[in-house]
């Protein structure tokens, strides 16, 4: 009781704590930087503050929350004056109305200051939208201990295979990522995106995919090379060359590897590999554009002095042209940056269009299929193109709202009828009066849940009747639902085809059942074992067993993903030690699904275990003793006494656990990422894809959410009936 009193006191103090108040106005800047880049920005801001006597507030926001925060805050006037970000998001920024033209932060007179390709990157619709700050592109890292002269062609690199020591790769790069593959695609004269649509088709694209496939097949490039693996192999001297960006240099600082950076090689019979260029820019919001100090700050960031600071402290490949002619830029410490600056001259600025965003996933699926040898390049690319066209299909013309009004009206009518019948029932007033004392106990919960839980959900559900983005909604009635349930108009025979709603539903149900059974089973076994009095190390076991729950799942999920790596993962290492063949875990549905389940069971069992431990305490000891006296075996005691007594506390955890597992987006996203080709996606990851990877079609995602909601409501209804049926059984 005293503990509760302390908690009450704590909450009251907290609520009365002074609010954070208005931040001092002045210039407010948001950015997703960290490390040196952040430090350089802070130093520049401090100098600006001192010179101009204007307060500058800088806020670093995690990359994963950055866009959502910008989109939530800026339209409501709570945003910054200035924010930093890559130019290729400009399409999204414009669509959501987050940015204003740079105006006199980037006047005509300044155009000559910056590298021309960076100016081109931030210019669209005849306006300059940002002050270009830095270029990011990839180049070739060469391990000079292994390779004396930097190779000029891809063939030269491949030819090194014979002369390199065993276990050393001629080349490492993220072969399965389209961002990296784009350089090969460009060498063959192909392109990812043109005329506002998916353009990675035709002979050039096919040849580029075949090239990627050959590199892996011939053992020039390792299998499933993630960014971290590239880093690991190159940093440990196990790779002669690597294709990566400036960020890799930061991890090579300990000086174990001697290396240099050169522009990407050419491909014999094709052309020079040309990477994509992204330009970090300083964007002004509407408020910022009206504020001379904010514009002045943005302009200052591009000056030569600021560029020097950003290059030296922040290791940025600055876009300010004149800096690269100064003496300072020739310092040995900036050698790598110089190399990237040279590489960026050949780079192709990434398209700005909003329609570019849904290109990546289908292109990547095609790339992976070809590398794995599942499909020929032509088939894979045609499929990817068809997928893109389907996803980008314009919404139907706004229908009459009549069907929707009728459906909603019927629902309301049914509700009203039910309520009225209830109110008319004899004795209702008496019941209501008798309920009064109970209402005192619930009113605050009802209020909290209505405002902070139900209202946001209803707001979300309402968007399911619209198409397009949140800022430009277009009423489409029930068509989002119809599209999902009719598998986007495919014939009946394809209702269980890959990627269809019904197949994904089956996967989701399987996923839920397997996980919940494992969670509850493990939780029960461990919870009951931990209650055994003879255990000396009980407290020790208990604390260690909740570790999976205590460590943030973001990092542990990635640890699991690493453990399932084809060539370097622990699971395969164990399998090989046991004499089995290594498995490509993410190449097949069954194994990828297993990997997801192993991770999710790991993450979830401590929760059930703790619930069981808590529930076990409510079983009076004498009941168990009585059972023993009556001569029950241990299994009988468990089944007939313990389990029924655990039931009231366990049931809600099981029901809610099933619901949460059904919607467990994180594990699927972080471990398999839907691989292979979206086959391990569950319904909610599909919803996320529509919201975030397919042009922010939030209405479509919301329709998915409502359908999931309906399915779960139905499922728990059925489960509830089953539960009741069992309760009725004699025990």
């Amino acid at each position: 009781m005293r503990a509760l009193a302390v908690l009450v006191a704590l909450v009251l103090t907290l609520v009365t704590l002074p609010g954070c108040g208005e931040p001092p106005r002045g210039v407010v800047i948001w950015h997703p930087y960290r490390g040196g880049e952040q430090k350089a920005l802070e130093q520049l801001a401090a100098r600006f503050e001192a010179e101009r006597h204007v307060p500058v507030t800088i806020l670093a926001i995690p990359y994963e929350a950055y866009l959502s925060k910008l989109e939530a805050a800026i339209p409501r006037g709570n945003g910054p004056d200035l924010f930093l970000g890559p130019h290729n998001r400009l399409g999204e920024y414009l669509l959501h109305g987050l940015v204003a033209p740079a105006g006199d932060a980037f006047p005509e007179a300044d155009v000559a200051i910056y590298e021309p390709q960076t100016v081109a990157a931030v210019t669209t619709e005849g306006q300059r939208w940002a002050v270009p700050l830095a270029s990011k592109c990839i180049a070739l890292y060469v391990n000079t201990d292994l390779v004396a002269t930097p190779p000029r062609t891809l063939g030269e690199i491949a030819a090194k295979k014979a002369s390199l020591p065993k276990g050393t790769w001629p080349l490492v790069y993220e072969a399965q990522s389209v961002y990296f593959h784009a350089a090969i695609l460009h060498a063959y004269g192909g392109t990812l995106f043109a005329n506002e649509t998916f353009a990675m088709v035709g002979p050039a694209a096919e040849r580029s995919l075949d090239e990627a496939r050959e590199l892996t097949k011939q053992g020039i490039v390792p299998q499933e090379p993630s960014g971290d693996l590239v880093r690991q192999l190159f940093a440990s001297g196990s790779a002669a060359t690597a294709i990566s960006g400036p960020w890799l240099a930061g991890d090579l600082e300990n000086g174990r590897v001697h290396y240099e950076v050169v522009p990407l090689p050419t491909i014999e019979g094709a052309g020079a590999m040309r990477p994509y260029l992204t330009v970090e820019g300083a964007f002004l919001t509407r408020e910022g554009a009206e504020q001379p100090e904010a514009r002045a700050f943005a302009r200052m960031l591009g000056t030569e002095a600021a560029a020097r600071e950003r290059a030296e402290t922040g290791q940025q490949v600055v876009a300010t042209r004149s800096f690269w002619t100064t003496e300072a830029s020739r310092a040995p410490a900036l050698k790598i940056l110089r190399a990237f600056h040279e590489a960026s001259n050949d780079a192709i600025p990434m398209p700005v269009s909003f329609a570019m965003n849904p290109v990546w996933v289908p292109a990547e699926d095609a790339l992976k299929k070809v590398i794995r040898g599942e499909e020929t390049a032509k088939v894979a690319l045609d499929e990817a193109k068809a997928f893109y066209v389907d996803v980008m299909r314009p919404p139907p013309p706004s229908p009459s709202p009549a069907p929707l009004i009728i459906v909603l009206g019927l629902v309301l009518l049914a509700g009203a009828y039910y309520a009225l019948r209830r109110a008319r029932a004899p004795g209702f007033r008496r019941e209501l009066r008798a309920s009064k004392p109970a209402y005192k106990y619930v009113v605050h919960s009802v209020l909290t849940i209505l405002v902070l839980v139900v209202f946001p959900l209803l707001a979300g559900a309402a968007t399911s009747f619209f198409a397009g983005t949140r800022d430009h909604p277009q009423f489409v009635g029930l068509s989002n639902y119809w599209e999902i349930l009719s598998v986007r108009g495919k014939p009946f025979t394809e209702y269980l085809s890959h990627g269809s709603f019904y197949l994904t539903l089956l996967v989701t149900v399987l996923w839920t059942v397997v996980n919940v059974v494992a969670h509850v089973g493990l939780g029960l076994v461990l919870g009951i074992m931990l209650a055994r009095p003879f255990l000396r190390l009980r407290a020790f076991y208990r604390v260690l067993l909740i570790l999976p729950w205590a460590v943030p799942s973001y990092v542990t999920a990635l640890a699991w993903k690493g453990m399932f790596h084809r060539q370097f993962g622990a699971v395969n290492a164990i399998l090989v030690a046991l004499g089995a063949e290594p498995v490509s875990w993410f190449a097949k549905f069954s194994t990828a699904f297993t990997a997801n389940v192993a991770t999710n069971v790991w993450l979830g069992f401590p929760f059930m275990m703790v619930v069981v431990m808590g529930a076990l305490t409510s079983i009076p000891k004498d009941v168990l003793e009585a059972a023993e006296v009556d001569g029950a075996t241990r299994w009988q005691t468990f089944r007939l006494v313990t389990l029924p007594l655990l039931r009231p506390t366990l049931l809600p955890a099981v029901v809610l656990g099933s619901v949460w597992t059904f919607n467990m987006f994180n594990v699927v996203y972080l471990v398999s990422g839907g691989e292979p080709n979206g086959k391990t996606d569950i319904l909610v990851s599909e919803a996320y894809r529509w919201a975030f990877a397919r042009n922010a079609q939030f209405g479509y995602a919301a329709a998915y959410a409502v359908i999931i909601f309906g399915l779960l409501a139905l499922m728990t209804r059925v489960l509830g009936t089953i539960g009741k049926g069992e309760e009725a059984k004699p025990s």
Partner: protein, 291 residues
């Protein structure tokens, strides 16, 4: 005592060994990926290496990642880290307290009273858990903006607590249902009011369940970062997970720093759990229930 199975007292040595063996296997399963995180945190540079045995090489051992995360040697940054740790603690403890405060009376009423709208309420409560929050950050942002609670810890706590309340109500209702009603009835026969019976009899008996539920609510707030980053607007107001997540960049991630931060973040949870587990096993003896 807790619900130790009565027969356990005379468990055979073989059985003891079997139980210990199963628990050791479970501990290995639980620990293995965490070892990888620990090894990452204590390695210089912190490049994640895919190796079968996640133990850092001796020459790589270093505390650099911890220094980086805590801002070692830079008083301003260290102070910021302490404040952010404090924010996390305040927000999570207040979430736990708030969720329990809101949920307990309601759960009690749902377990013991009959009233109009009870079953509908229970159903709605369950339904709220079924709607995937694909994009609920924006509506929440609007609500807090309207309530002038944006950029305050109070607002964040309210959101977290409200999210944790439905599960807390279910969990506590189950616990109250499992407590024999005779106890409260006896107290009421002795002249206690309903409220007194709730506060003096039912509440102490539900203590283990309250501890478990509070732990859940605490955990839900402790590791959340998207809402915290969206709803808070100043670095000194951020919670630790937001800071931790900022080590994940668009192109690459400082895994070493992230792992070090993850370990720092999980230590208080383990400590809390270590303390709370006494609550979990102390059980009903204080309530004096006789079946």
């Amino acid at each position: 005592m807790s619900a130790d199975l009565a027969q356990n007292d005379r468990a055979s040595p073989l059985e003891r060994m079997a139980v210990n063996a199963i628990l050791v296997i479970a501990v290995i399963y639980a620990l293995y990926p965490v070892l990888w995180v620990i090894s990452l945190a204590f390695s210089k540079g912190g490049t994640p290496e895919l190796r079968a045995l996640p133990i850092p090489r001796y020459r790589d051992l270093s505390l650099d990642n911890f220094r980086l995360v805590t801002g070692w040697g830079d008083p301003a940054r260290s102070w910021l880290f302490v404040r952010q740790l404090g924010n996390s603690l305040i927000v999570s403890l207040a979430t736990a307290a708030g969720a329990i405060l809101i949920a307990t009376p309601t759960a009690y009423a749902l377990a013991r009273h009959e009233f109009v709208g009870k079953s509908a309420g229970l159903r709605t409560l369950l339904l709220t858990q079924m709607f995937p929050g694909v994009a609920s950050a924006v509506p929440l942002y609007l609500i807090l903006d309207a309530l002038h609670l944006l950029d305050t810890r109070t607002g964040l706590v309210l959101v977290y607590a409200a999210t944790a309340v439905p599960f807390a109500i279910f969990q506590l209702r189950g616990a109250f249902l499992a407590i024999p009603v005779d106890l409260e009835e006896a107290a009421m026969v002795d002249g206690a009011t309903r409220t007194q019976a709730f506060l003096k009899v039912a509440l102490p008996a539900a203590r283990p369940a309250i501890a478990v539920t509070a732990l859940f609510a605490f955990m839900s707030a402790w590791n959340e970062f998207i809402l915290a980053a969206t709803l808070l607007g100043r670095e000194s107001a951020f919670t630790l997970p937001v800071v931790l997540q900022s080590y994940v960049g668009e192109y690459n991630t400082s895994w070493g720093a992230f792992a070090a931060g993850a370990i720092l973040v999980s230590v208080p949870v383990m400590a809390l759990f270590y303390v709370a587990q006494r609550q979990l096993v102390s059980g009903l003896t204080s309530g004096g229930v006789k079946g």
